[in-house]
């Protein structure tokens, strides 16, 4: 982008744009800063409603406390393992199917799409799903988490739309050179699709990272839980527990502990994101191919 537009309208636009985006940044970042501040604050200060943007009664003790719980780290490791394996499987399955669906000449393509779209609306209830997983012997195993959600139809269709947008000349040329379908997908299509692959990896990884329901349903030992179940129990346990109103001897977990756990679970995604983001940099793809 060499040309700089210097018309008055452009300058006004840029100022307005900056203001809008600054507001967006402030509004979105505030709660997160607040949580970080809570995680570094004294519990009494939080209870008194004093903590806002900066920690009050600065302390690392809560972090040490959470980090000293072995279950937290075991669950954390589980989350990493589940996320990596599940994302790999999901990427494989989704890419294969999306590529097939993107071929408009393929006979039966509409039916194949229909199979996927139908499942967005109709699904089995909880109990049939549970019986299925336990009959397959997946209970208390990683398969219960990584297999049943291997294809998200939403992601599938987004990916299909991307594939359809790719120019077909290269594929056709490769086919004439005698390359088979697998080779074309692997060596021609995928290298052209870094942006969509990065997006999908991000989407899948984040959804697996944040998911807790499958683990909650199919895992019955705390050593197998991902960290989200741990976190949910901390956060939601306090509210639902007291709402029953009978367990007077039960105690709630301090708010700063919740904040720490939250910060620790979000961080990895924030760290990974910039690496993925590289692929969104404008104009890498087609320009390079055409050039």
């Amino acid at each position: 982008m060499v040309t700089v537009d210097n018309t008055r309208g452009q300058r006004v636009f840029r100022v307005v744009n900056t203001i809008i985006l600054t507001l967006v940044v402030i509004v979105t970042v505030y709660p997160f800063v607040n949580i970080v501040a809570r995680s570094l604050s004294d519990e009494f200060a939080i209870r008194a409603g004093k903590v806002n943007l900066l920690p009050v009664g600065f302390t690392f003790r809560t972090y040490e406390f959470v980090a000293s719980d072995p279950t937290f780290w075991i669950n954390y490791r589980n989350t990493v393992v589940y996320t990596v394996v599940a994302t790999a499987i999901a990427m494989f399955m989704t890419t294969c199917y999306a590529y097939v669906l993107s071929k408009k000449h393929l006979k039966g393509r509409k039916f194949l799409i229909g199979i996927a779209v139908f499942t967005m609306f109709f699904s089995g209830g909880l109990i049939p799903n549970y019986i299925l997983i336990s009959s397959l012997g997946f209970k208390d195993s990683i398969w219960a988490i990584v297999l049943p959600n291997a294809i998200s139809v939403f992601n599938l269709l987004v990916m299909k739309a991307f594939f359809e947008g790719l120019p077909s000349e290269l594929e056709e040329a490769a086919a004439i050179d005698g390359m088979n379908t697998y080779g074309i997908l692997l060596r021609i299509v995928l290298p052209l699709s870094k942006a969509v692959l990065a997006t999908m990896v991000l989407f899948y990884a984040v959804s697996f990272w944040n998911s807790w329901f499958a683990a909650f349903l199919y895992m019955s030992q705390s050593d197998l839980f991902p960290v989200t179940v741990y976190l949910r129990n901390l956060i939601a346990g306090a509210t639902t527990g007291t709402s029953v109103g009978a367990d007077a001897t039960d105690m709630t977990v301090a708010t700063n502990i919740k904040a720490v756990t939250m910060v620790l679970t979000v961080i990895p995604i924030l760290v990974v994101y910039p690496f993925v983001q590289r692929y969104f940099v404008k104009g890498v793809m087609l320009g390079a191919v055409k050039g």
Binding site: F122, V158, P274
Partner: protein, 330 residues
Amino acid sequence: MSTTRTIDASPDTGGPQRARPDPARAKPRTGRTWRQALRRDWQLYSLAILPLLFFLIFRYLPMIGNVIAFRKFEPGGSPLGEEWVGLRYVRMFLNDPSFWKVFANTVIIGALTLLFCFPAPIVLALLINELRGRRVKRFVQSVSYLPHFLSMVVVAGLVMEMLSVDGPVNQLLRAAGNDPIAFLQEPGWFRTIYVSSEMWQTVGWGTIIYLAALTTIDEQLYEAARIDGASRWRQIWHVTLPGIRPTAITLLILNIGTFMAVGFEKILLLYNPLTYPTADVISTYLYRMGIVSNSFSYAAAIGLFEALIGLALVMSANLISRRTVGTSLW
């Protein structure tokens, strides 16, 4: 129709890609027999085997459980129900006036969410795209998706704190000389609160798809437009928007299909009996019904009803889109 074709068609650019075979010409060839298709495309079909197995086992098999919408299910009894009761559960909710009230609420909230939360990421993505300076861009992007990671309990807590009578919003109102409003107790405010918090949570994350789509736009198209003397507005109008159109349409159709599935957890955390008149939706109503009686059959009947609506919506949205803009899911 594909992306590149759309770009070809835009008037400002005489694209160099005309030589490409027109996909529309593939049409007459669909008359092939299955045997021919298999011989020609068996490698493509082989790629679909595992995904199809996945759908069959993990999606279609459990669907059989939906028969309990027409059979009486007793918790702990047979998963396929005890006895046929026909349309009993369907009649039950069709005759339940409360159901129709929550149904209307669901439609309204869903439509509002679609109206505001669907275009917002496109606008934000374009704004971000117009930013100069890679680092600023990256910073704004990274920050904007933070809310996506907050647990719903935390989001609900924040909303309540913001809107409490002593909260920042009411402090602004007071400073402007108005009386404070107990927002969460006013049925009239609930939809506004729900939609704006939803937008706050999803807008940044939603930009990711569009930003990725923006990368597929050929830089040469911009250059050609610039040489033709197109202003930035015209560039956005004629190059950028057509470039992300297939993605946007795909998402729009999907959103229309799922707009009945409004955020259960958030509503559950934000509503209270005072705001039931506007806030209560099908899922929360079912939840309250379910907690009391474990009525899985009733829930299954309503679930099927919802699914039929969703399917009808997505099919009509797809049809309209294919007729009018030429892009569709299938």
